[in-house]
């Protein structure tokens, strides 16, 4: 994973840009998407309760890494969406969207051997190839994301983003 600050800000940037065309995607929904961007890394629960410990407890194979996949974030978003008093379908959609920005970003990470983690599981069960763009400790990632965030905030506060295109 890249560090979570980059992931949260990438979700903010992507959803804010989308909000320029989607009227219902207000700032409060962008905030929900930013929380969704954290979901894939909830697989880190494995550092507290190891796969081996759960395997021993349940007597079946087990791997927390499934949380860091398409199927994992859809189900986790389903759980989280049910904690909203209203508009749970919208909450679900935005949580999944935020989580997807995380998975797609991680899908471009460097892996020895050239194949990323199986982030499209269970739709695609194999590990997809990665373009090997960065490693998680690369400070240039966060620098680039911070620059994009500042640009998007500036455009969002100006009239450029919502101005009607010329005829």
């Amino acid at each position: 994973m890249a560090e979570l600050l980059s992931h949260v800000l990438i979700a903010f940037v992507v959803l804010t840009v989308a909000s320029w065309r989607l009227e219902w995607l207000t700032k409060r929904w962008v905030a929900v998407g930013m929380v969704g961007a954290i979901f894939p890394d909830l697989e880190q629960i494995g550092t507290l309760v190891s796969d081996a410990a759960v395997r021993e407890l349940l007597g079946v194979p087990f791997n927390w890494a499934a949380i860091h996949t398409l199927g994992g974030v859809v189900l986790l978003s389903g759980v989280a969406a049910m904690t909203f008093s209203d508009e749970r379908r919208r909450a679900f959609a935005v949580l999944v969207a935020g989580a997807l920005t995380h998975l797609v970003t991680d899908g471009a990470k460097m892996y020895a051997g050239g194949y990323a983690s199986a982030w499209l599981y269970p739709v695609v069960r194999s590990r997809p190839p990665t373009p090997n763009l960065y490693v998680s400790s690369d400070v240039r990632v966060l620098s680039l994301v911070l620059a994009a965030t500042i640009l998007v905030v500036w455009v969002d506060r100006s009239d450029i983003a919502t101005a009607d295109p010329p005829d």
């Binding site: 979570l4 600050l5 992931h7 962008v30 929900v32 087990f62 008093s85 749970r88 400070v139």
Partner: protein
């Protein structure tokens, strides 16, 4: 009340589904894994000699043409990494990915090495930035939403 029961039911179904997914992912791990896991190397190293392996591990030592790595997983196993692609930008305590062929002398002839953390301090950078990321997301979320006990769930903060 019916709505709350339905919400709770859906949440439980999703949670059980998530645990089921973790079980299935664990059961099908061999399909995705290029070579043996650290646990398998620990228990049955000789059976996997000659296979390609992808290891994630902490660098224990580095010298000119060899690096010793403790591959992390359910078990920790120590292997020497050799090959002409050995990186010069990693120190002991760093974290690397190694892909290569497993040799009989508890070593890997590395075809490719990716330096994830050059130094132990890189891990602290990631941890610190991640904590800030969680705080940013939580603060922005709570600026717009509040927990309602009467309606049992998150609702829009009208003063936000």
């Amino acid at each position: 009340m019916v709505a709350e029961a339905t919400r709770a039911t859906i949440a439980v179904v999703c949670l059980v589904g998530l645990l089921g997914l973790c079980v299935h992912y664990g059961a099908t791990e061999a399909e995705r894994s290029p070579g043996p896991s650290p646990e398998q190397l620990d228990e049955e190293y000789d059976e996997h000699v000659g296979e390609n392996v992808l290891l994630f591990g902490t660098v224990l030592s580095v010298d000119d043409d060899e690096m010793t790595v403790e591959a992390n997983g359910d078990a920790a196993v120590e292997v020497a990494v050799t090959g002409d692609t050995a990186p010069d930008d990693v120190a002991a305590g760093g974290f690397v990915q190694v892909y290569g062929e497993l040799r009989p002398d508890r070593s890997v002839a590395a075809g490719e090495i990716v330096v994830v953390n050059s130094h132990p301090a890189d891990e602290w950078y990631k941890l610190g930035a991640s904590v800030v990321g969680v705080l940013v997301a939580a603060a922005y979320f709570l600026r717009h939403w509040r927990l309602s006990l009467s309606r049992i769930g998150w609702e829009v903060r009208r003063d936000g």
